[in-house]
Every structure is written in C-alpha cells, then in structure tokens.
Amino acid sequence: MFTFLVQRLFQALIVMFVISLVAFAIQDSLGDPLREMVGQSVSEEERQVLRDELGLNDPYMTKYGRFIGNALQGDLGTSYFLKRPAVDIILDKLQATLELVFGAALIIIAVSIPLGVYSAIHPKSVWTKVILAISSIGISVPVFLTAIILMYIFSIELNWLPSYGRGDTVIILGWESGFFTKDGLLHLILPCVSLASIMLPLFIRLVRSEMLEALSSEYVKFAIAKGLPMNKVYYKHALKNTMLPLLTVGGVQIGTMVAYTILTETVFQWPGTGFLFLEAINRVDTPLITAYVIFVGLIFVVTNTIVDLLYGVINPTVNITGKGA
C-alpha cells in the first residue's frame, strides 16, 4: 500500500509538471492581454512600457522559471482583471462550482439508480423503451441547449424559477452556501438539472447494464432458485454488486463534471470557476487561465488517485500494489 502511494504521488507530480508546462506554453497564443487593459487610443509605446512592467517581454524560459519558482510557493500569479491572487480567486469561486456539482450528483444518483434498475428488471416494458429513448436524446443534446430550453420553460413561461445567479447565500463554517435558503435552493435547481443532464444518460445505461449482468450471474440464478423473494434478490444481492463500477466511473466523472461546468455556469451566470475561466479567456487574463488549467489537472489527478485507492478497498480481488496475489 505504501509503495503504491509513493508511486502514485511520484506519477502525479510528473503529470502536474507536464500540465504546468502545457498551461504555460499556451499563454502566448491566447492573445494580447494589453488590449483588454488599455483604451483604444493608447499608443504602442505606452503599451510596451506596460508589457515590460508585466514582464511579458522576457524570454520564455525566464518567464517559466519565474512562474515555477512562485508556483512552488503556492503563488500562481495575480489576475490582471480581478487584481487578486489567482489561487484565492479560484478557491473563492470553487464553492459555487462544488455546490453545483454536488447538486447535480445528487440528482444523478437519485434518478439513475431507480431508472437503471427498473429498465434492467423489466427489459421489455414500454417504460424501459421510453427511458432509453429519452436518455439517448439526452446524451446527444448539448448542455447549452438543454439549459436554455429549461430556462425558457421554467423562468420565462411558467415563471417558477429564477433565470440567473446564485440568489441568497448564507455562510456556514466559512462556506458560502445556497443549500440553506429557499432562494438559494430555487436558484440551484435549473443549473443542477442542466449539468446532471449530461451525465444522467451515461449513468442510467451503466446501472442498467451492470444490473443486467448481475441478474444473469450464477449467484442471482441460485438465489431465485432458492426461492428468495424477488425484491430481496434484486435490491439486496444484485444491486449491491452493481455499485462497484458505479463508484469508479462516478469518481472519474465528478472530475469531468467540474470541467463541464464551464457551459452550464456561463448560461446561468453562475459565479463559479467554469464561468471564471471562460471570462478569463475572453479577457486574455493569462495568470488566471494558467492557474485554472493547473487546478483542473490537479482535480483529475487527485480524484483518479482516490478512486484507485477506494477500488482496492472495496474490491479485495483487485491488487493495487501490482504484485502477485
């Protein structure tokens, strides 16, 4: 176990180093940050002075060296536009993003398990066909469109739900949350549903196929033959065994979801990291862009490592140390 951890940590460091190199290398092709900082009538000489001040005219390696030196001390630069350290901004905005992801994950769990199980138990039912048809549509509609359609129906036409932002939030244990106010919860619904819509079809199908596999396995057949009540067979024996792949896929997908929030957050003006990133690109706020890319890389590395570890804990047949059993 310990060797595995050390190994993974080492791998993670290499991955992070490569990501930092890439994140830094793209900076120069993003455009000229000066354009967003100065008015149209400012002369080229003035711009050059500002470029020098910002260190934009230094050679690539000098810039990268300076960046790595600061990064190792936890300083990923200061946003040109928001004028605060990039790390602080991302940590601030992360609360909103994590709430969105958490809400979407709840919806996914609450919807995908019952629907997946139902469609596996009743493979020939009309409802199964409906569920599968809707989920294929769901997987092919871009989240941008889903979000706008939801907004059209529930905000404009029915006027039930608010169209943008986070609403009222309260600070609980240093965490700014929308889960504890009515207004905050109402604001969460549409963005969470939109975000969940990307992952939901995948999970319904995953639960269904895992459940089908479990149902055709020897131990289920045996349990049925033994005369156990069907509900007990389905929910106690079969369902329990579908949870394992769900956990591994789910863990990895949560990382993906944090990255997917870019579109959802943009449509709903959700003040999270995804929206922040898109804005940063528009404004060529390079320190913030680099910090975000590194940060998302970190999330992927961490979630993958945790999932690998959990997998070993839950399924003892998997030997994560790589040595023979």
Partner: protein, 516 residues
Amino acid sequence: MKFLKTKLTIALLATGLCFSAVAADITVAYDSDPVTLDPHEQLSGGVIQMSHMLFDPLVRFDKQFNFEPRLAEKWERIDDTTFRFTLRKGVKFHSGNTMTADDVVWTFNRLKKSGDYKAIFSPYKELKKIDDYTVEIISSKPYPLVLQTATYIFPMDSKFYSGEIDGKDKSRIVKHGSSFASTHVSGTGPFIVTSREQGIKVVFERFDDYWDTASPGNVDKLTLVPIKENATRVAALLSGDVDLIHPVAPNDQKRVIKTKNINLTTVSGTRIITLQMNQNSNEALKDVRVRQAIVYAINNEAIVKKIMKGFGTAAGQQSPAGYAGHDESLVPRYDLKKARALMKEAGYEKGFKLTMMAPNNRYVNDAQIAQASASMLAKIGIKVDLKTMPKAQYWPEFDLCSADMMMIGWHADTEDSANFSEFLTMTRNKETGKGAYNCGHYANPKMDALVNKANAETDPSKRAEMLKEVERILYNDAAFVPLHWQDLAWGAKSNLQVAPIVNALNFPYFGDLVVK
C-alpha cells in the same frame, strides 16, 4: 365627518403616490460590470458609465450632442487658447467635503498622468485655478474640442484621494493589481457604492446630499448585475428577475417588443463599423477603381436589414448624423453593375484573390457581416479567403495588418469627426501617433493637412466645413468600406422611463431615471 374621511383618503392617496414615486429599487443587467471604481484607470464604456453614476462631469452631452451644464455652470472662450469654466457652488462629495476649483485642478493633473486619458488631454498645457469656483483650461495651440474633453473631467475628491495608505500613495493609478482608488470612491454623483462583488453585483444607493435636487430621478437603490450570455440576459428580463437590460441582441429584439409590459428603447449609435483595404499587402487595392468597386459591391443596406435585423444605420461615411463632419449627401452606394464596370476598367475583369480577417466576438454579428461581405465580393469576381477569430487573437493580427481586408469598428472618444480620421484614415506616423489603426495604409497628405487644420480651428462652422470636406475626399477615394453604425438597445419594464436618460454615447444618466 365625511369631510374628514375624504381628507384622509386624499392624504393617504397622496402619501401612497409619493411613496411609489420616491422609493424605486431596480436591478439592471449589463453584459459586464465595471473593472474598477477608479475613473482614470481605463478609458472604456463600462468605466465611463460607472463614472456618470458615482461622479459628475463638468459638462455632459444631451441626446442631440449639445452640452449640458453639470459641475460647470457656465463656460466661455476667453481667447484661442484659453477657456473659462465657472463651477457650481455647494456641491458635496460623498465624503462630505465640498467641491472647489482645487479638486478640478487635482483631477486634471491626475488625468494627465493616466495612460489611457493623457492622449485626450495632450493639447492642454494646464488647468489654472482663478478663484475657488473658477478655472481656466489653457491649450498650447488653438484647440476646438474643449467642451468635448470637459465631458471627461469628472472631479474627484482631492482630499479623500490624497495621502498614503500602507505606504502607497492613495491617488496612484494601477492597471494591474489593486489600488486605493480602484476600490474606494468619493465623487459628487447621484449614487454611492454600498457593496461590490466583482463579476457578481454592484449595489448603488442614492447619495442623500446630491447637489442636483432638480433631477426627476427617483431610483433609491440600483443593483447592477453582469449577465454575459445574451439569451440569459433577455430571459432575466422576460421572467421579471431584472428591470432593465443592455445590450439586447438583434435576434432577441422582436421578442422583447412583443412582450407585454416590457419595452425596447433604441438609439442609433455612433460606432462606425468598417472594412479597411490594405494597399500595402495587395497590389490591386492601390487602384482607386478597385476600391470603389468593392464599396459598390458590398450591399451594406442589406447587411443592416438581414444580419443586423434593422438594428443599425447603413453608412456612407465615418461620421454619424449629429457629428460636425457628417455630410448628408454621402450615402451608401450599392450598385453591382457599376462595380463590375469599375473592375473591368481597372483591368481586373476576371477578378483576383484577397484575404480578409474579422473578429467573431467584438462587434454585433461581426463574423456574419464579414461572411456576407465576402460572398458579395464573389459577385464581382473577388475570391475572399476569410478568417474570423476571437478578439483576443484578432487584435495582435490587426496590429500587424495581417490581411488585405480587416474589420474595425471605431467610436470617437471625443464624439467628434476628426477623431475617426486621426486613428483610421490619416497617414500612419509613428512619431505623431496618427493613423495608428490605419490598416488600409491609405495616405493622402491633402486630407491629413485638412484634419490638422480643423483641429486648430476654433470657429465651429468653419471647422465643420473642413471635416465635411474630409469625408468627401475619403468617399471619392474609397479609402475604406463603410458598413454601418451599430444601434444601441435597452430592454426594460414599462414602468421605467428609459428613453429620456439614454443616448447615442451609451452613457445612460441613471441619476435621472424615473420609475413609476
């Protein structure tokens, strides 16, 4: 008893009416929120919009481009280089300090130091205090645009911004990184900022001691929220979450007009959208007949109608109506036959190839406009290799004048015709900074001289004649392809009286907004 009852009803009614006329709390959604609270940090629409809420200029434009007295009550030209302003008395800053000539002098000196503003104030030698409520602005040479530049002088509270905080001067102007002035504010404006979360919202509340007691404005609290996405902004208005939005994308305008209790207010804008024809990179564009053919071939009226959904005014020149140099006879000139004839005359009957670049997120429908122009040019045999890209990548390309035709929009910071020529069409000159955005490389010494002469002419009517002549020269030389002036649009609930406070400059005077 009955009498008393009626009286009571009247009184109640009266208070009721007063109440609804006094306390208005509105939410406004823009596509972005101000970058800073420092009016001198960046010369951009957003910052000036904010300045009109937190500060007041010496004078401001009304809807017809006339000047309205604000902190300057009176003004007069003393001689060719001296202009005197008489300041309003009893104007209080948000901090409680009283505004005097010292504040105006202090503000002027700070403007001279601001990277973004120093160009506008470069014609001036100094701003002199005559007495506590009189100042004189002195230019090094005769300069006609004193009042135009005075719309940029928003007196700041010199006492409030002087001194040091954490060992740094409170008044310094910082482009990248935080400063005292970018987060603290004391102006004379109708509103004070009570809370600000950048990118989420800014809350403005009415300043109790605002000097302009004659203003009909009754907005007590104004929350400004940025909503980047066009569709979301409209949805927020239609669902009643916000009271006023800007901008409204051309595609959404019908929807806004049709909705009950919501109005659309449009004003024709002053930003000209053009295509420049690079005479250095493409031999054919040196020929005036080819350039004219291109102008004749691009049907900009159709572009306005189809792509802009009527949300713009097709242009034949740089200066919009209302500007000194606007010549009414210079109209759009789409004529395919004539275009073909000119191509033949120039020896390009079989056409030629050229490259074109345009941004895809800078101007309204910019990429579609470029595509339409390209296909219109195909009709006279010009094959266009078009590239569109996000503005962040476009500007570095524009700096290099990378393509044979490049799109550029321009809003004159001085609201004056000469400004267009100084940046877009005068001969490129590194030393004087003229023609800095002239990617057409059009060079005409006669026109250059005329613009320079106009900028030293203090007689408005003589000056207007010169600027009109400039427009005529550019028209005949087909120096660039004029496309249109973008309109501006605001969508609002019908109880907001938006029309009186908005203008072509896109600086709404929210202090005067009446909410019924």
